[in-house]
Symmetry: C2
Subunit: 671 residues, 2 copies
Amino acid sequence: MDIATLRARHPDHWMRAAAIRTLTLDAVAAANSGHSGMPMGMADVATVLFSKHLKFDPSAPRWPDRDRFILSAGHGSMLIYSLLYLTGYADVTLEQIKNFRQWGAITAGHPEYGHVSGVETTTGPLGQGIANSVGFAMAEENLRARYGAKIQDHYTYVIAGDGCLMEGVSQEAIGIAGRQKLSRLIVLWDNNDITIDGKVSLSDVTDQKARFAASGWDIFECDGHDPEDIDRAITAAKKSPRPALIDCKTHIALGHAAQDTSKGHGALTDKAQLEAAKEGYGWKHGPFEVPAEVKSWWESLGSRGAAARAEWETRLAALPQGKRAEFERTFALEVPGKLASAIRALKKQAAADQPKLATRSASEKVLNVINPILSETFGGSADLTGSNNTKTADLGVFDVESRKGRYMYWGIREHGMSSAMNGMALHGGIRPYSGTFMAFTDYARPAMRLSALMGLPVVYVMTHDSIGLGEDGPTHQPVEHLAISRATPNTLVFRPADLTEVAEAWEIAFSQKTTPSVMALSRQNLIAVRKTHTNQNLTAKGAYVLAEAEGSRQAILIATGSEVEIALKARDLLQAEGIGTRVVSMPSMELFAAQDEAWRKKVLPAGPVRVAIEAGVRQGWDRWLLGERGREAKAGFVGMSSFGASAPYDRLYKEFGITAEAAAEKVKALL
Amino acid sequence: MDIATLRARHPDHWMRAAAIRTLTLDAVAAANSGHSGMPMGMADVATVLFSKHLKFDPSAPRWPDRDRFILSAGHGSMLIYSLLYLTGYADVTLEQIKNFRQWGAITAGHPEYGHVSGVETTTGPLGQGIANSVGFAMAEENLRARYGAKIQDHYTYVIAGDGCLMEGVSQEAIGIAGRQKLSRLIVLWDNNDITIDGKVSLSDVTDQKARFAASGWDIFECDGHDPEDIDRAITAAKKSPRPALIDCKTHIALGHAAQDTSKGHGALTDKAQLEAAKEGYGWKHGPFEVPAEVKSWWESLGSRGAAARAEWETRLAALPQGKRAEFERTFALEVPGKLASAIRALKKQAAADQPKLATRSASEKVLNVINPILSETFGGSADLTGSNNTKTADLGVFDVESRKGRYMYWGIREHGMSSAMNGMALHGGIRPYSGTFMAFTDYARPAMRLSALMGLPVVYVMTHDSIGLGEDGPTHQPVEHLAISRATPNTLVFRPADLTEVAEAWEIAFSQKTTPSVMALSRQNLIAVRKTHTNQNLTAKGAYVLAEAEGSRQAILIATGSEVEIALKARDLLQAEGIGTRVVSMPSMELFAAQDEAWRKKVLPAGPVRVAIEAGVRQGWDRWLLGERGREAKAGFVGMSSFGASAPYDRLYKEFGITAEAAAEKVKALL
């Protein structure tokens, strides 16, 4: 269908959608970079969605019962910026649109969560938005079950492109959503047949509708440029008892010389072509100009949402006081005071019992205490429930018939799980944590990075955190993964040594508001290393003196997790030879780095030989060995410099030389 | 169907398959760990595959025209160890079976490439095997087109479980295989309805057959315990013009008390249950005992393969001398002498021209020289061909109708692409390289780790390697990814500064036999920093003095890639103030670390202030700043400590303080 016909059929709709298209063209031209084609192709779908279906209130962008709109195809960021500007979100001013992709503007190249009030999640890395959306929809189901439909009753809409659907993580997301019958999840597929390299058929022949249907989705179709057809499809999809895919047949860069080509995917900045496109649209306004009647129509949509929001406020106010407080507390990510006292009691007990157990088991003990106190926690595992020790008895299982359940069997989907956890955290009201083997950090990485970039307090429970995993061998033994997580900005990496440190680490992790945590936990049993109870959370200091040198302090052994026990044994060997040796436990490098110099100097004074013991690569350790008053000539490392091997774990520690004897020898060689 | 009936129907087959089951039970019991259920469930399928279809010769495990058998469900490693022992692979002795999962044994917990002659790829991280297999099948198609069906004419068989199919990477693999009509690829799905956490239905309801069909696969089914039905299905699948999925309905841990349960997935070590299972099988032999007639039947399969292999040797010998030499050279990963001279000529030209260009464009120039010389190279990109600059004119495009093509449009599938590259490298005869944006290292990580673990000389072309990417913003700007790749054992990370270093880096990368490489390349244009030609490959030294201090040497600036230019400018500023400053270019930390101390000391002598400049996180740099004769008080770093932002790249460099001025100031503050 040609542009003239489209215009003639729905003249009002046409101009409203044209506002998105022209703002996109102008902003990309001004930035001289960006992606024009997607917003131009999906403008009609977005216009219908926002005007006829989406529940939103620009004056209260964080309203907990709003519908969520997720632009999985994040490169089409001008679509969402246009929509937010047009509907009247205060932060998305025309100035911001004009400064698209410039330093200091909130209108980044890809939509960044936290920059723009109406952006629900950071997208750009393809497939993440659609996988996030599964978590959004799960959170809604869970909270609706727990707080009632008067408080939580909304949809999650996703715009996804061919790129999102080619990424493997989309399959994990589709599988989870289909299994869980997430009927409030609606994916609008921008089916434009184009990728950067050319036609989709260059690299894919997948029948996407059949693929989604195979995982239990309902399928709808529409002409993505016909507002009536789009409305019909969305209306039908909302009634579906299953997650819904709407195949929106669209033309990328509609009405531009680059329409239907891979060139249309990118920045369309040719001035003459731009003018010609506007001409074809019947758009007679200057750059960034939107006629008043179009703008006010868009703004009227927002006002409609304000009324719905006011009604919701009334319903929230009518909730029993305790329930309302709980709802507000969890959305504010506040932690109840009871948490600290419960952790203290647990630590006191641990000091008395001195249990020998794997830190993954210790973690289960701690979760047994925390989960009843924090109703917002939501656990899970990527098919390793019994190994990750993430399930506690009180949680219940989240399922189609048990939406109140707070434990999820994610299946063998580390990436989808992690990305869905991001979605749950973004939705609000929920603190997700889930587990896999630490070596499979690799599978979860794209989502872990986005937790950090977005500042989401998701907790990754990474058990079997070294060669201590034993017989499963090098594919399952993390070696570089502590370094990988530590290299990532805004990420807290914990490697606790015993039940006490595990309890402290969980307390910190669940108190975060803007930082994800990685819990590196052992498979193998470990002795209790903290012998005396302290009310203070020593893990919060990052590192501390666990055992002081007797006599003159000649050496400091620094260790984490399962190697703290080895450091203590090495200290015994050295002290027996009269070598005064301090042991420092360092459960979190990030937290230690954040302490003032006085504390750091107290823990790591100049002078003594320093040897670090950790069953991972050295990268990241030189800061504490050579830096912080250390010296190359007096520093050593006992750890891994290669991948692991398959054998019982005690044999592996011996063969790879991570032993008390080796650490003691290293110290003596450096003295 | 009960065991007795199965036994009665095919008594000979039954005992041959029972040998796999009992060896598995005995080995897992001896190791007291491992996975019994999968080999017990798939023993019948494997027996039929090996006896009626698989082309193999235990006396020549690396025979280039063998069929490839890939155990994607790697936890079932005793399946392949049993098969290799039974058919007579010399290295898989009974002793090795008895030492399953023990230190020093080649029979690791998961099958490790390079340990066992008949193991085609390392599996265990789920989904990798099936994604590798796409690369195996592509390699076969490509080499068959180039060398003829007399030389390359074989199938790739994969056993995959539900875990493999839930992992997202499987979707990427399925999509590639379907699009490319890889008709020699046959996936045998161990459809046993069980995962670790319970029934598959706990986490998935996907109709796998419909899902594969949606991507262009042909679907077959069989009763996975009926040898005739299995044979019929495999026979039909081999004739399919498309990749084939065979749904093998099986019972996990067949015949054991744990049959059809998630317990059956793991280690079945209960002695009484083990005996009862053997009793049910009609197996009256001691642990690890296989009756002579069964063993000799299995060995006879191997002899049959030896005849086929001898015929193949004759055909190979009949090839024209040049073609045969080329085939043998590429399978031996030998590099022709012409490479070095071509690189030298290119460097000479570069020294004369001093081109200002992005290192990704420099890379294309180098590939334009190399690809015509190295017929084994095979390039590609995950839908960023124009951005990664990986395509050269002579390659041709690999497609259904052009199998000789050496360039692949992988689609938006970084993970599947990387895993398939591993498969191509494992197949032999091909040196794969492919590109994406460096930030998407995250998506490719599981496969990149396996390149390193297996020792495959795959090259990852990672362009847009810093905030220099500019407007696309933090999701697309790598910050921690140099550290991530450097933390990984057996990985060469190159960050070349100009055309000369790019040429040197490619020469090194394509000369590797057992190490993958990461090429970190800039989006932005860079000046030529190597002004004079040297025959020597200086990048091979890891780091070298690019510009010597004039006057007394007070400072050393160390930089990589796009920041070398900044270091040179900082040197100008410092020299102008009379501060003698050396600039060290460090294109590869790994190669520098491998140099003898004399070289390292020459490049990084004790004394001067050291400041490193790299637009990434500091992790990994302390080794060169504080170590190697460095001192904390005289060391500084100019780089990133947070994620990036969206803006033109030159603005970002300024805002994040990665400038010549900042570096010069840092030096002066430390003097």
